[in-house]
């Protein structure tokens, strides 16, 4: 009797583990086959030499890394960092007041405003970027409107500013949504308590609302910075040939220069920067 009672739980635990494995396996397979294996390959390419017509020659070299610290390439990485940082900063400055106002709306209007924020995502990304070209090109809508006022035409496309505009337009919702959820979650009584203790509306914002929404700020910044930093479609379409971002460089190494090892090394550098940022964000969010 006793041994039977003891033995019984074991198969059940094993069964539960088996069940968990069965349910997890599609996700695990996806993760391993489509993420971890390719990532491993990319990482391994960084220490090999390029093939003459693309591909990889499996002979060890550190040449890719020495090339990486060439001012030319570091400049591209720095350029990307600057563009992504500027985009993130502007997105925060626009996104915070937007999210704050939406969070104050009566609940019926809240939903409507959130739908309006997300609405652009329902249209194809490329089409939306093309729309900007239509707007900003030489004979485009903005210039013809300015022309009627006797101004221009200006070269509005193919600046760094155009890239920032495009990135901003594409990723602003990713800033607004986490900010909104962080602000909306705050107990309105905290603001009342602050007022009751003698704080003005501005002090209440500075001392209570803002510090308590820092996790949302960090998430929003990360959500905008990450896709902006590695982006290559928007700089390609709106930035012209003058400014290159690290995403373009990587794509060019793989598809045009056919230098897979160096492309991989650049990709590794990009991933390293992003992982470092993620760690900083996690650390800051825990402290907030």
């Amino acid at each position: 009797m006793k041994s039977e009672a003891k033995a019984r739980p074991a198969p059940r635990v094993r069964g539960r583990r088996l069940g968990a494995f069965v349910f997890l396996s599609p996700g695990l397979t996806y993760l391993v086959v489509l993420l971890l294996v390719p990532l491993g390959l990319v990482l391994s390419y960084t220490v090999f030499q390029r093939g003459r017509f693309g591909g990889v020659v499996y002979e060890f070299t550190t040449e890719n890394f020495t090339r990486l610290i060439d001012p030319l390439y570091l400049g591209v990485v720095g350029n990307s960092l600057r563009i992504a940082a500027l985009t993130t900063l502007i997105a925060l400055l626009i996104g915070y007041p937007t999210a704050y106002l939406i969070a104050q709306l009566p609940s019926r209007w809240k939903t409507l405003a959130l739908v309006a924020v997300v609405l652009p995502f329902w249209t194809n990304f490329i089409i939306r970027v093309y729309a900007w070209i239509m707007l900003l090109s030489g004979p485009g809508l903005v210039n013809s409107a300015l022309g009627k006022l006797g101004l221009g035409p200006y070269e509005l496309l193919y600046h760094e500013g155009t890239i920032v505009t495009g990135l901003l337009y594409s990723y602003l919702p990713l800033m607004v949504l986490p900010l909104y959820s962080a602000i909306e979650r705050l107990d309105p009584q905290l603001r009342e308590a602050s007022a009751n203790l003698g704080a003005s509306a501005f002090t209440t914002f500075r001392k209570v609302t803002l510090p308590l929404s820092v996790p949302g700020v960090l998430t929003g910044c990360l959500f905008v910075f990450v896709p902006s930093f590695g982006n290559f479609v928007i700089p390609e379409m709106l930035g012209g040939s003058k400014s290159t971002m690290v995403g373009n460089l990587i794509r060019d190494q793989f598809l045009k220069a056919r230098d897979w090892p160096f492309g991989s090394t650049l990709a590794l550098a990009l991933i390293a920067v992003l992982v470092a940022l993620l760690i900083v964000q996690a650390w800051a969010a825990r402290r907030a």
Partner: protein, 349 residues
């Protein structure tokens, strides 16, 4: 000190406050008591400035309050949820109000230290609210409210989040503190025991109106409206007509002895209320009293509650007797009381 004059407030079709007037004196511990949704919290929020009345005036020491922004009123509010700032330590939470007054750092430090000492939380000054128990959070909220030395302290259901044992301790502590700091306290509660034990005077609210304002003992012994008689404490209520004498004429039970609180014209609808502890259980052969059958005896330690089913009365008549009851369920008894122990009041409905 605090004068509330004809204050009304409605939300859509719901009337939260209907022409409420109250006068609260300096140093008083005043309670606003009523069931939930009776408007008492709305009144508190109007006093604090988070709500504006549709009409009426509120003044503090003769000074109009309604024209002042919430952060300029010399009034502290302790929230039901405590609303402690989760990202600040206990000391920072308490210092918040003083920092807004731009007091010298040294004075802030000293006053925060003193008030934490008063509420017994000196050892917890460096903790965050999440690291405290419910009772400790309540005391932080209290410390944060009184450290500014407001002229008036409003407390919204201050003890409702605490368990029974802590609650009793905190009741005593609140009372002690009120004597110590000498601030006028206005507490909102739905718990009549809390109101009774804490307050000097109680205003009983019902559906946006004040039904009675009196000291706890008067409220209990001399309820002046049917709502108060029913809401405050257990009561046995009999409906009938006033007689112009010390009695109520009931359709089912004939003349019932009681004392009218005011001059009531004969044959106007009236209500007689008699407390369980004023009811005497007599032998079934007694000359005077209503005949009934004991249906239940519940022992509460010091007292027992005896429910007596009296034919013709909708609810059993409740009698409280000292110690364990001597009667058993099924016993035939008579219930009776003295005229001075029952009150008769007008019954407008």
């Amino acid at each position: 000190m605090l004068k509330i004059d004809g204050v009304s407030r409605s939300f859509g079709s719901v009337t939260a406050l209907d022409d409420v007037s109250l006068q609260i004196e300096q140093g008083e511990f005043f309670a606003l008591l009523g069931p939930s949704g009776c408007g008492k919290t709305t009144l508190l929020r109007i006093i604090a400035g988070f709500e504006t009345p549709d009409s009426g005036r509120v003044s503090l020491d003769g000074e109009d309050l309604l024209s002042k922004a919430p952060n300029r009123r010399p009034i502290s509010l302790m929230f039901q949820s405590y609303a402690l700032f989760p990202h600040m330590t206990v000391a920072k939470n308490v210092a918040y109000g003083l920092e807004r007054e731009r007091l010298p750092r040294q004075e802030i430090k000293q006053r925060v230290g003193e008030v934490l000492e008063t509420v017994g939380l000196s050892a917890h000054a460096g903790r965050k609210p999440a690291q405290l128990s419910g009772g400790q959070r309540q005391r932080v909220a209290l410390a944060r409210s009184i450290v500014k030395r407001p002229r008036l302290l409003l407390l919204d259901e201050p003890l409702s989040a605490l368990d029974k044992k802590v609650r009793a301790d905190m009741q005593l502590e609140l009372k002690r503190l009120q004597h110590e700091v000498g601030i006028t306290f206005v507490v909102v509660t739905h718990d009549q025991e809390e109101a009774m034990s804490l307050a000097d005077r109680i205003a009983v609210f019902d559906t946006g109106q004040v039904r009675q304002v009196d000291a706890p003992v008067t409220l209990y012994e001399r309820p002046s409206t049917p709502f108060v008689a029913d809401f405050v404490g257990a009561n046995n209520l009999f409906r009938g007509l006033a007689t112009g004498l010390d009695a109520l004429r009931s359709e089912d039970f004939g003349m019932l002895a009681g004392t009218p609180l005011e001059e009531l014209a004969a044959d106007t609808p009236a209500l007689l209320a008699v407390r369980p502890e004023r009811i005497e259980l007599a032998d079934e052969n007694a000359v005077r009293g209503m005949a009934g059958t004991v249906v239940d005896v519940s022992f509460y330690g010091g007292v027992s509650h005896v429910s007596v089913d009296v034919p013709g009365h909708p609810k059993p008549v409740l009698a409280a007797v000292q110690g364990a009851g001597t009667v058993k369920p099924g016993a035939e008894v008579k219930v009776r009381w003295n005229a001075e122990d029952a009150v008769i009041m007008a019954d407008p409905q």
